[in-house]
Amino acid sequence: MTPLGKRPTAAAIARRVGAGEITARRPVEEALERASAERLNAFLSLRGERALEEAELVDRRVAAGERLPLAGVPVAVKDNIAVAGVVTTCGSRLLEPYVSPFDATAIARLRDAGAVVIGKTNLDEFAMGSSTENSAFGPTLNPHDPGRVAGGSSGGSAAAVAAGLVPVGLGSETGGSVRQPAAFCGAVGVKPTYGRVSRYGLVAFGSSLDQIGTVATTVEDAARILETIAGSDPRDATTLPGRPGRLADGLDEADPASRIGWPGEFFGEGLDPDIRAACERARDRLAAAGAEIVELSLPHAPYGIAVYYVVAIAEASSNLARYDGVRYGYRAAGADELHAMYERTRAAFGAELKRRIMLGTYVLSAGYYEAFYGKGTVVRARIRGDFETAWERVDAILTPTTPTPAFPVGEKAEDPLAMYLNDVYTVSANLAGIPAVTVPFGRVRPTSERPALPIGVQLMGPARAERRLFELARFLEREAAA
């Protein structure tokens, strides 16, 4: 396991490749070597030769004078994001043989910027889970303690980055699936504003919440990747118009003196004391640097999980209806009648998938729609309203990212509800469509029960306020190192 900070950042690689100091091939080759030797089950597939060919293409472009912001940067991509010509399993038997015929828009933009996708990373099946234990291809282990989960659903990308296999990765967010594993693994994790990054090519889970997010070892890298992939896309009608401004330049020069919200609802029961202490330290550092700390309330936050498990899961059950074996992917053999073929094919979904499909189908079914989906939508609007009210008084909100550090493999597998409660601090941002960043901030005190596992501290901001969040996150990153 490679400690953070020992491997070059994406910024450093791009600078050196762009300046001609090293070839693009070198960081890509090294990443591929490290990835093939890994024991965390972070990667499901590696692109090998194809990645090296692409690296050589980058070298030719650099030689021709093109300025490429991510020249030669090796990237790990969650296996629910389409890369043309590459198997995209979504961690599921249903798509085990499935090759995507097109690139996600985010991938095309990475390519344009000179980055090279070296492989696809493990995830909870169809991004549904909080530990990567729901993958059909085994769990991903935490680089800090291989007896513990890497978190989920973007566990593979978070572990790959935290273990130093690659400097940056793409994951996806629906309820916290980039931030939670980033916090568990000690990496920076970003969820953009809803609509900031195109969902074209992201296999849909909860369409009104999904966003591609970035994982990195530094705030600057995470911001740079986001800057590259963000912007409106004619292929996705839910993208925001225009492009964000510069997100990664000059973060050190920014003044952290902002108004920071401290919501009582996020610091109640169930929060690990070491994580609480880390948040308080972060708060105090911000205050010392001139920030105004404002205690406030997000009264509907405690209902976030309930809303999420109605709205997101309803959308998920709908988005999974297309996996029927007719046009692509796995098709069960031996059925001589159509609906039997559907049932046998879809029996290959894992238990968590079946649970969610059932739950989602139930809440949308005749007679229950108003009580569940209807009600969930109303409460979701109230959660959004709570944030709108908060932004009148603060510029950002500081909370823990997770209630506990990484838990042992298998500990929550039997209790779906306990697993769902992992997302309690992260779902609000997805439901409200606002951006959020998790920054590693210290470790838990090592005991006989657990080693010094990473802690993540979360900053949430108003829609489109990624820049401010990166500035504050950069401040905390410097403070954490001090």
């Binding site: 498990y309 009648e337 109303v378």
Partner: protein, 91 residues
């Protein structure tokens, strides 16, 4: 808020999931627990969904942009003579 085994079987049929008896029982327990949790939304006052507000409509120009090689799709699943094949439908 509990759901019965028959409800579970009905939902499974709607969703084209083939569940074993063990799975039916297990899901019945788990779904009941989850629905119980979700039902806390009832604690909140009822309200009405807000009027959807459409932003600037991102519409597409009516122009044909063909996929370069549609025959590739037929190779991804059982097909013959240009058609996708599925087992017969008992309607």
């Amino acid at each position: 808020m509990s759901i019965g085994a028959d409800d579970v079987r009905h939902i499974a049929r709607l969703a084209r999931l083939d569940l074993s008896e063990d799975e039916v029982q297990r899901f019945r327990r788990e779904l009941s627990a989850i629905l119980e949790y979700v039902n806390r939304l009832e604690e909140l006052e009822p309200g009405r969904a807000a009027e959807p507000e459409p932003p600037d409509q991102p519409l597409r120009e009516d122009r044909v942009v063909g996929w370069p090689d549609p025959s590739w799709f037929l190779d991804q699943a059982p097909s013959r003579d240009g058609f996708f094949l599925v087992p017969r439908v008992v309607d």
